[in-house]
């Protein structure tokens, strides 16, 4: 055992004193920070292209002239609205809270939501008029909400329109009043309130229709999803969870809201790229055994009174430690850099999950660390491949090239098998199983999508079989061949 510790120490020293390993590690840090910067820039780009140098209010003036010239139906209302917008600098684009209320003051006609969404032609509600507009200027949103609630209720009573929609809208206005959630600050609650309401509506709709036969499963799944969304939204409001994270969420609404301009969005994208970060560990793994042969130092190494399997095991132990250090160092530099770029906001973000109807919250850091460890398995497997090839071929170049080709080409090979060749046995290959994050959460542009019916247990089994094969390759190359 003492000998084994000495071996591991030797290997660690050999690796650490090498200039090339220092370069690889520094490069990895630089790359992870560079990736962080690129994600950050793309996260913040939306605003700038939306606004790119064009004066909206000049254009609104032109629209007034147009309306006055053509005098189409409702032109007076439109002109009043545009004048109000120009006077108070209310943009139609940047999500100004006053826009929706101004439209109610001058246009009427629609059931309106605090988040600006509108549902057409359910109600014939007349414009609320100048008085209401004055309330906007005074920022008296409470008064405005009361007016809206009253008017909606009257319309409902008088004309018997779709009650669900109106009740939904009124619940939101009321909730904001009751909980003192002002529309003036674009807070996270608006989205949650709306989503809660929408989910409830979905639940009641789905419960009202009975589906039998083939569609039943799908229907039940939709119903469960709607219930879970409602539970999560309720939990967020009750527990004041301003930001939630979920893998695959930010990337799909990359341009969503200011809420997501935080380190978690960056981290989520980073975890998708983790398979490619394995390249750095592969470069180190590919040289661990073969460099001893290319330099001839293997002769002094193997004159030691130690069995060869102990030496190869000590090398592998050092590879594992290196991979761990690599992952931690790159993650910390990514988080620090990302934190500084985004100002360390939303630190209290949570991952919310519904288990048997009960919502459980996990701090975002813990949640992402779980994903990060899972994506580390990818790095573990691919660098073990490089290590095994290094031992078997005694050629670092070959070992590194094949392993990197497997990292980059794995998805392509899987695609060809699955879509071009139309065969199913790709599911037994490493490529479809190596990325546990994809297996659990679905594939993305960087990885392979899971096969239908692919279970976690199956994936772990495939990985284990490959690891055993790689281990045998490394062992055979090192202990059974002459030097």
């Amino acid at each position: 055992m003492m000998k084994f510790i000495a071996l591991v120490k030797n290997e660690a020293i050999k690796l650490l004193t090498k200039v090339s390993s220092k370069i690889v590690l520094s490069l990895a840090i630089v790359v992870s920070m560079g990736v962080c910067l690129i994600f950050f820039i793309s996260l913040n780009m939306n605003d700038s292209w939306r606004w790119g140098g064009w004066d909206e209010f000049e254009w609104l003036e032109e629209r007034i002239t147009e309306a006055q010239r053509h005098k189409y139906e409702g032109w007076e209302q439109e002109v009043a609205m545009l004048r109000f917008q120009i006077e108070h600098r209310i943009s139609s684009y940047g999500g100004d809270w006053r826009l929706g209320y101004a439209q109610m003051a001058f246009y009427g006609n629609w059931v309106r939501y605090p988040d600006g969404t509108r549902y057409g032609d359910y109600l014939e509600v007349p414009p609320f008029g100048e008085g209401f507009a004055q309330l906007i200027v005074e920022r008296n949103w409470r008064e405005m909400h009361e007016i809206i609630i009253r008017s909606n209720a009257e319309a409902l009573a008088n004309k018997g329109h779709d009650s669900e929609i109106i009740e939904m809208a009124n619940w939101q206005y009321q909730y904001m009043l009751d909980n003192d959630i002002s529309p003036m600050e674009q807070t996270w609650q608006h989205g949650v309130i709306h989503s809660l309401d929408w989910s409830r509506y979905e639940v009641s709709f789905l419960e009202s229709v009975a589906v039998r036969g083939d569609g039943a499963d799908e229907h039940n799944k939709d119903l469960q999803n709607a219930k879970d969304s409602a539970a999560i939204a309720q939990y967020r409001l009750d527990n004041n969870v301003s930001r939630t994270v979920a893998y695959g969420h930010t990337m799909s609404n990359w341009s969503s809201t200011d809420d997501s301009n935080d380190v978690w969005s960056l981290l989520e994208a980073y975890i998708m790229l983790m398979p490619f970060m394995s390249v750095f560990v592969i470069i180190i793994a590919g040289g661990l055994v073969s460099s001893e042969f290319s330099k001839g130092t293997i002769k002094f190494l193997l004159i030691n009174p130690v069995k060869r399997w102990k030496i190869i095991t000590s090398k592998y132990a050092v590879l594992l430690a290196t991979g761990g250090v690599f992952m931690v160092v790159t993650l910390i530099s990514f988080l620090l850099f990302g934190g500084i770029l985004t100002g360390f906001n939303n630190m209290s973000a949570m991952y919310l999950d519904v288990v048997n109807g009960a919502v459980t919250g996990t701090p975002a850091l813990v949640y992402f660390m779980g994903l990060w460890v899972l994506s580390g398995i990818n790095i573990l497997v691919m660098s073990t491949l490089a290590f095994a090839l290094s031992s078997l071929t005694r050629n670092s170049g070959l070992a590194i090239a094949i392993s990197i080709a497997a990292v980059i080409g794995g998805g392509i090979i899987d695609n060809i098998l699955r879509w071009t060749a139309g065969v199913d046995w790709g599911r037994y290959l490493l490529f479809a199983n190596v990325d546990l994050v994809s297996v659990l959460h679905g594939g993305n542009m960087a990885t392979v999508a899971p096969y239908p019916g692919q279970t976690l247990l199956f994936t772990i089994g495939v990985i284990a079989v490959h690891m055993v094969i790689f281990g045998l390759m490394a062992w055979d190359g090192f202990t059974r061949k002459e030097i």
């Binding site: 071996l7 030797n10 330099k295 002094f300 030691n304 009174p305 002459e482 030097i483």
Partner: protein, 322 residues
Amino acid sequence: MNQAVLQIRGLNKHFGNRHVLKNVSFETYAGEVFGFLGPNGAGKTTTIKIAVGHLFYDEGEVLINGFDLNKNFERALESVGGIVENPELYGHMTGMQNLRQYARIRGVGQERIDEVVRLVGMENRVKEKLKRYSLGMRQRIGLAMALLNRPKLLILDEPTNGLDPAGIRELRDILKKLAHEEKVGVMVSSHLMSEMELMCDRVGIISNGVLIDVKTVEDLIASVRSPFMTYRIKTDNAQAAMETLHDINLTPGNKTVVGTDIIELKIEAERAEEFIKAITQRIVMGGYVLFSVTPVEEMSLEDAFIELTKKAGHYIEGGQII
């Protein structure tokens, strides 16, 4: 006799279908320098690599310090120090860091490291990166590494490669001292007979994978030296002078007339004095002039060694053993 630290018995080794070691058996004892002598490609390195576990063998037995290499690898190698072919070390580390690598596994302390560094005369350069060393300096560090664990068996494969004459002499002295004073069994391979002559106590000669002979250095020198000496006698009339010698029987040597004034005599080395005396007396008494008697340059030790290895009758041509 001292204890055998390396015992090789009936060793056979093939590379593919090429039989490179054929029934090689020999021993190295504690307290001696054993020379392993043979031309390039004879199988010296192969034998040494087998002894340190780098190559595997087909048949035979290798015991180091009494432990069978195949059955008790770690115990066997614990008492070995050695350099196989060139001493290739980690170029990105200093000499000292390289030594520490080795010391860690062998459980050797800093004190012993410093001691061997002094022994090989590297104390001034040991803090430098290895890639800046000359081959001779690497040989020295390699030797220091091989000596770290006070081995019972020290195996060096052509250790004088890259050393200057002063370095070779130093190495010779170190090895002799280790063997004779510290009772280490030293095995040194070489393709140079002259080197072996100065360094070794016993020599095993290998050629084309066959161990031809194992002898003490004295016996070896005697055996390769011809038992006959050749002398040239310069006189005024060789033909006539030769007549006077007709009844001197040099059997199994002979006498011949070479040119007009030279007689060449091949005389049994041990009786040279006796014969020369008789022959010169005859020529002078016969009335001929005796200008000079000169011994002809004998065959060099290296030539003799080459002759010896050829005598084994094994040649490798195009990979075929004839």
